[in-house]
């Protein structure tokens, strides 16, 4: 199976409460370490699990290509992903300001038409804009099936996937015939969430994503990393959505510490009037 994974570099997702606003009212993430958006990391882990025998993760039984739309310094992220097991990387040169989700989707379509993968994996939403749109738009532009909010995948002979979509209070089980677009949740990296046809059913992965061994990082330096222009993959770079200024949400008024349960209940009754 050949899998394309779309990855977005974002500011450290665990410290987004430290963002500031610039004088122009734009979100300023200075000081936060750039990292892959977590769900994209999970999408890569999913792709690796689908293209290997879990008991021997060194042999890739398929091809995994990672792609990002980002400036040059995102190559570091791509190199790290080549180190964890991706075979090739593509960077489409673009800044965030020149993109919206629709353009990323149209650009990805251009890449899919060249690469002809069986599956495109994406995070269900990226950690900064949290738009939750690129996968669905890409599926429409390709005329492919989409499966979003996926927390479980079972590969059936690499021709179809049985997926679990996590929706409010329920899991919808759906079978999609490839090629398809799938967007993943964090649940996808639980030990038994991905069942490839290559891996014994009894195999359990460690929780979370794998880390690259030093040797693999060295070897990855020789793996191909292509650079494309936006115009190579999307003929029309017009944006449909324009982001203006941002604001910081209202701070919650500093709360109080109560000394015991009695005081808590009293305050809930007389001050907050919620019980």
């Amino acid at each position: 199976m050949k899998i394309l994974v779309a990855v977005k570099r974002v500011a450290d997702p665990d410290n987004l409460n430290k963002i500031k606003l610039s004088a122009q009212g734009k979100v300023d993430t200075t000081g936060l370490e750039p990292k892959p958006s977590p769900y994209d990391d999970y999408a890569l882990e999913t792709a690796l699990r689908l293209t290997e025998n879990g008991t021997n993760t060194k042999a890739r039984l398929g091809e995994v290509v990672v792609v990002t739309f980002a400036p040059k310094d995102a190559e570091q992220m791509l190199r790290a992903m080549l180190g964890t097991g991706a075979d090739r990387a593509i960077r489409v040169d673009a800044t965030d300001d020149a993109l919206d989700g629709d353009l990323v989707a149209r650009g990805l379509k251009g890449i899919v038409e060249k690469e002809k993968p069986d599956l495109v994996l994406l995070g269900y939403q990226q950690a900064e804009s949290e738009s939750n749109e690129v996968g669905q738009m890409l599926a429409e532009y390709l005329g492919w099936p989409q499966a979003t909010f996926v927390g479980h995948i079972q590969s059936e002979d690499d021709k179809a996937l049985l997926v679990g979509r996590e929706i409010e209070g329920a899991t919808a089980q759906v079978r999609v015939t490839l090629p398809a677009v799938v967007t993943v949740l964090d649940k996808i990296v639980k030990p038994k969430s991905v069942q490839s046809k290559h891996t014994p059913a009894t195999h359990a992965y460690p929780e979370g994503v794998r880390f690259a061994a030093l040797m693999a990082i060295m070897a990855a330096k020789k793996k191909p990393l292509a650079e494309l222009k936006l115009a190579d993959v999307a003929a029309d770079a017009t944006l449909k959505v324009k982001y203006g200024a941002a604001e910081l949400p209202p701070k919650r008024a500093a709360g109080v510490k109560v000394k015991d349960v009695k005081e808590l209940v009293a305050k809930l009754k007389t001050e907050a009037k919620v019980v």
């Binding site: 669905q136 429409e140 005329g143 209070g169 759906v174 959505v241 808590l264």
Partner: protein, 318 residues
């Protein structure tokens, strides 16, 4: 005609409450609007949609829509929007709306404003505001295309109340499925069985963290019962199997904004806070005075939860 098309969310033939948030948006922007009731049993459900001041309630009652499949539903929504000349299509920002809206937007060549918490109409221009960066920023956006697709957060658009009247119901034909629909087979729905009120709609939510261990239910259920309320949980509690997965609150769980949120033994990680910080009053019980949850709690109690919760229960009953 210009105006708003509201796409109703149905579940087993019933209108979900999220729909009334989308109607609230339509009323706020002020243009004439229609509501589209689409699914198996859609014409019956339409009866619950006629008293909100819609110009009409459109129905596509089709057994093949029984189980939601985007590749079946999206072409019909897009066609009805186009044929009716509606310039805005609005859906609830539930998993249903978030799955469907971008595909519809792409079909219409329309810009999409996802998961908005505010809309401002100034002159002819409309600006949308939405939480980004795990709720740490509100970003404003404008749509450059003539048609807008929007999904609205249920927590910030309170359900519209019936305003009386009776909008005419009009059955409309469905459009052919996307070719891709042939490659999607709905297998089954596994519903978490909970007798408690739905998390998204409860007035009070009592949530527990990993620290409750196997005693999650034993400790929290009586408290939830006393407050007549829904139970929630942190991801760590769900992952460990102490709470069922559908209870998860946060970025990848449910977004809640009840009148009262009681966080019991929850540290307050950024991804948890993203799903509950819109709550009106937040109470935190945690034995660590430095726990980040205290930074957003209105009332913080530093105490062992296994002592505090039974005491709280006694005090509430007393």
């Amino acid at each position: 005609m210009a105006g708003t098309l509201v796409v109703a969310e149905l579940s087993e033939g019933k209108v979900r409450k999220s729909t009334f948030s989308a109607i609230a948006f339509a009323k706020q922007v002020g243009a004439p609007f229609a509501v589209l009731s689409l699914g198996a049993g859609a014409s019956e459900a339409a009866k619950d949609l006629v008293a909100f001041g819609a110009q009409k309630v459109l129905t596509v009652d089709d057994p093949s829509f029984k189980d939601y499949v985007c590749e079946r539903v999206a072409p019909t929504v897009a066609k009805i929007a186009k044929d009716g000349g509606w310039d805005t299509v609005v859906l609830p920002a539930s998993t249903f709306g978030k799955d469907l809206a971008p595909r519809v937007a792409a079909k219409l060549g329309a810009g999409y404003a996802p998961d908005i918490n505010l809309v401002k109409v100034e002159g002819g221009a409309r600006r949308y505001r939405r939480p980004t960066y795990a709720g740490n920023a509100f970003s404003w956006l404008e749509i450059a295309t003539p048609v807008h697709v929007v999904s609205v957060r249920q927590t910030e658009f309170p359900a519209a109340e019936p305003s009386g009247g009776a909008s005419p119901i009009e059955a409309v034909p469905r459009a052919p499925d996307d070719a891709a629909a042939a490659r999607v087979q709905f297998v089954k729905l596994e519903v978490g069985k909970s007798e408690r009120p739905d998390l998204g709609e409860a007035r009070v939510v009592v949530s527990g963290g990993r620290s409750l261990k196997e005693q999650f239910k034993q400790v929290l259920e009586p408290l939830a019962d006393a407050l007549g309320t829904a139970l929630g949980a942190s991801r760590a509690a769900c992952d460990a199997g102490y709470a069922p997965p559908e209870l998860q609150v946060g970025q990848t769980g449910r977004t809640v904004a009840p009148q009262l949120y009681v966080a019991v033994g929850i540290s307050g990680a950024i991804q948890h806070i993203a799903g509950m910080k819109g709550s009106k009053v937040i109470v935190a019980i945690n034995k660590d005075p430095e726990a980040p949850i205290f930074q957003i709690a209105d009332y913080g109690l530093v105490q062992d939860l296994f002592v505090a919760v039974p005491e709280l229960l006694k005090e509430l009953k007393g």
